[in-house]
């Protein structure tokens, strides 16, 4: 349709689409799904790291970790707000999360088992997230683009903090170095999976790329991540757990093993190590909090009534 064409022209010219602008229903739906999943990932992502807050090894590490997990909740907040501009409320999105109708990033279904995992999550998981998100700062939808700009700034800070933890661990006692290597072993392939299956297997990509909701292909981003991360691992003195890893002079990038995609699909299906625990924790928080939210709402209603009564009386 001409409307659709005009829309596509604006996107092509690099104009930002704003909430009140007309947009195709597919564009809106895809964005709601993508932003919603991203928001859910932020709040579910609080759990694996939150798992170590009470056990952080120094007061400073505890403070840094608390601040980081708090930032993630803040990112959730921006993203739910961005989704709200598309006409879907936070409560609706949460309801879909809790009922399993919407997903969150599968990486958060892996456990954090030793302190170095807190480093690895910052370094690898936030690193992969940034790789995905930096291009999205140029996404066509205004509120989403602006949320990504804020988020990317904080994420790269988190990534540096994560790398600093890895450095301490890798240069620490033999036990600490073992923890660091163990964390890398466990998080390497799940991090590669964060970019999604290979483009040839990815369904929605073409339309999303035309709409500038997706900017790069999964494989491009994965390659970029490997190229940047491998030297960092070497600098730490750690071994990337991939025997096929090798520099390819011709493509000016590393050759590497594909992650085990059957594992990826099992985790998506709900069979990851922590899927059940993560969802149980979120649902429990929501259900246990019902009386609290109801209490605040009831007070707000009463307060509004009182204000109204007072203004009537004053007239």
């Amino acid at each position: 349709s001409p409307q659709e064409q005009a829309f596509q022209d604006r996107v092509d010219k690099g104009e930002k689409i704003e909430p009140k602008d007309w947009m195709p229903e597919g564009y809106r739906k895809t964005l709601v799904r993508q932003i919603g999943q991203h928001a859910h990932s932020e709040i579910v992502g609080q759990l694996p790291e939150g798992n170590w807050i009470t056990r952080a090894p120094t007061l400073e590490r505890k403070a840094i970790l608390l601040a980081k997990v708090q930032d993630e909740a803040g990112h959730g907040l921006y993203l739910y707000s961005a989704a709200e501009t598309l006409g879907v409320s936070r409560d609706e999105l949460l309801d879909k999360l809790h009922s399993g109708k919407m997903k969150y990033s599968s990486i958060f279904n892996y456990p954090t088992l030793n302190w170095a995992d807190i480093g690895a999550v910052g370094w690898l998981v936030d690193g992969a997230a940034i790789m995905n998100q930096v291009p999205l700062q140029r996404t066509s939808y205004g509120p989403y683009s602006r949320a990504m700009i804020r988020i990317c700034k904080e994420e790269s800070f988190h990534q540096r903090q994560g790398y600093a933890i890895m450095m301490k661990m890798a240069q620490g006692t033999p036990d600490q170095k073992n923890m660091a290597q163990d964390a890398l072993n466990r998080f390497w392939f799940p991090s590669l999976m964060m970019f999604g299956p290979s483009d040839k297997d990815s369904v929605h990509s073409a339309q999303s790329m035309a709409w500038k909701i997706k900017i790069n292909t999964n494989d491009e981003l994965r390659q970029k991540f490997v190229n940047e991360t491998v030297p960092q691992a070497k600098y730490l003195g750690l071994t990337v757990p991939d025997e096929k890893l090798e520099w390819n002079e011709e493509k000016q990038g590393y050759d590497f093993s594909e992650p085990d995609w059957s594992e990826f699909f099992e985790v998506i299906k709900g069979n990851g190590p922590c899927n059940r625990e993560r969802m149980d924790a979120r649902v429990k928080a929501w259900e246990d909090g019902e009386w609290f939210r109801d209490g605040l709402n009831a007070y707000a209603d009463k307060a509004a009534d009182r204000r109204k009564a007072a203004s009537v009386a004053a007239e």
């Binding site: 009470t54 120094t58 936070r90 036990d175 600490q176």
Partner: protein, 251 residues
């Protein structure tokens, strides 16, 4: 000087243990804004811990820094009041405790920041009081809204108040350490803070339509002298695990 050290540990341990309990909510709050606010409160409290225990260690002069004090003392050596180590409970218990403690904490820090004869103490208190002032406002606001919310939120807040009330007496019960610090002009006469605390608490509870228990009731004591509840040992087992399991490692 040993009294000064003890007294600083009390301030630092209150912040540390309350910060620990508050941080347990991270990722589990009833609503995102609250999750963020609780993490922020915990973060402030850990910051206060670093300052108070840091000064305590410095004063002691035996090479113990804030981390050493936080991570390598067993329960008998902790000096926090019992109130802050009770389990986090539901949000009613968490917010009511924060309110009851903050009302005291704010008075104490206000006094210290403008009256303490120790410039170091006054300086730390001046930094901390800004944050605690905000905590108190926020906690007071939530207590009012939940107290005057639904029948259930009211009931939960009243139950929380009654559970916690017997633990508030310890805040104002001065022992020899408190008296020495007060005599030296470092710290206030705790009994004198009580009146202002009761007024603040009474006002907020009234606005919250909650019934204030008798302030003269039975008080659970002992935390300031190292006699704790059964909960503290479990907190420390978790908190101190890495430092205990990997002695001497640097993180």
């Amino acid at each position: 000087r040993p009294a000064f050290f003890e007294w600083l540990c009390r301030l630092g341990d209150n912040a540390l243990i309350l910060g620990h309990r508050t941080s347990e909510w991270c990722g589990h709050g009833p609503v995102l804004e609250e999750d963020i606010a609780l993490a922020n409160t915990a973060l402030d409290l850990i910051g206060h811990t670093q300052m108070w225990l840091g000064l305590a260690g410095e004063l002691e002069g035996e090479g113990r820094d804030a981390d050493t004090l936080a991570y390598l003392r067993d329960a008998m050596k902790f000096r926090n009041i019992l109130l802050v180590e009770l389990p986090k409970g539901d949000m009613a218990v968490t917010m009511m405790r924060e309110f009851l403690f903050d009302a005291y904490h704010h008075l104490l820090l206000t006094w210290l920041s403008s009256n303490s004869s120790s410039p170091r103490v006054a300086e730390i208190a001046a930094k901390a009081v800004k944050e605690v002032s905000y905590h108190l406002d926020r906690a007071s606001d939530i207590v009012v809204r939940l107290g005057d919310g639904t029948a259930e939120s009211h009931r939960r807040m009243q139950d929380a108040l009654e559970l916690l009330w017997p633990y508030t007496g310890e805040m104002f019960k001065a022992d020899e350490v408190d008296e020495r610090l007060s005599d030296a002009g470092v710290a206030p006469d705790l009994a004198q803070l009580r009146g202002a605390w009761e007024t603040k608490v009474r006002d907020i509870l009234e606005e919250a339509t909650l019934t204030m228990p008798d302030p003269a009731g039975y008080a659970h004591l002992g935390g300031k002298q190292g006699r704790h509840t059964e909960h503290l040992g479990f907190i420390l087992a978790e908190m101190q695990f890495l430092q205990r399991a990997y002695p001497g490692a640097s993180w």
